[in-house]
Subunit: 143 residues, 2 copies
DNA sequence: GGCCCAATTGAAACTTAATCTCAATTTCAG
DNA sequence: CTGAAATTGAGATTAAGTTTCAATTGGGCC
């Protein structure tokens, strides 16, 4: 699982397996869905493990490089991440009022992108689609 | 044109039409394509008009609110904007090898997104689709 | 196990984009 | 033209994220 993959990644780079790095990894994969670095840091803290903000950020970057975690957006108040290992690809809708993130997937959308790539002789390897607007709740509230 | 639209927007809000705001507007619409706030500020400066960074940022936000300008991404080094008025909406393909940016538009893609939004009771106001991969030239070269 | 050294850590300083403060200035309705 | 309200600029402030560097630690090697 992700633990082994991360260990292999570290080994391949001559990096060390520290308790701080393990704590970050464990915490990230225990979070269901999106998270911000600060929340990650606080979660780790409140779980009794001591790790500095610097280490949390450093490990986060390593995890992104390893492909286990992906940065999915930059909000007003910083980056948002999610772990990708064990997660099917999906896109996001983001409510600009409350910040809620809705995940969705559309086979149709994927297919059309392939068609477009072919038309432009482009070899697509990945994509990010972010739809911004208002979620049901915020839309109602505004009335 | 954009000038009139912006003036109407300001008037509707009881805001004033200042030379600084006009300078920002003029500069933005003279830039073909994407720009960053800092570049905008420097351009205005070097064109002889004096306007502070604060005013540039403040006006930029007003323009986004008015719908004349759109923030298209948040890069490592700040936000990237483009003016939308007089520009048809489009998405981007980015070659990860050479950095080339291909703009494209697909009515199909737009429609499917509307369908998805409806399904999730989400009121989409804008979106960003970025397809990463290799352009024709780089693909050929790699062989 | 124990040695050794490169990698890692934490605390605090730093960086950078963007926002805020507030006194002085400017706009514009009347 | 006048005055109230909005705006401006310079510099202070904020906050996310990175860097610095001395002290600590992991892990290959014997």
């Amino acid at each position: 699982m992700e633990r082994t993959l991360f260990m292999n990644f570290l080994a391949a780079r001559g990096l060390k397996l520290t308790k701080e790095r393990m704590a970050v990894l464990r915490q990230i994969f225990s979070i269901h869905g999106h998270f911000e670095p600060e929340r990650l840091y606080l979660n780790i803290r409140s779980s009794g493990i001591k790790a500095s903000r610097a280490s949390v950020y450093r490990t986060l970057n390593l995890l992104v490089e390893s492909g286990l975690v992906e940065r999915i957006s930059r909000s007003e108040k910083g980056n948002v991440y999610e772990h990708t290992y064990g997660h099917r690809h999906h896109d996001h809708m983001i409510c600009t009022t409350c910040g809620e993130v809705i995940e969705f997937f559309s086979e149709n959308l994927e297919e059309i992108q392939n068609v477009i790539c072919t038309r432009y002789h482009f070899t697509g390897t990945s994509h990010t689609l972010e739809i911004r607007g208002q979620c049901r709740t915020c839309k109602k509230r505004k009335k």
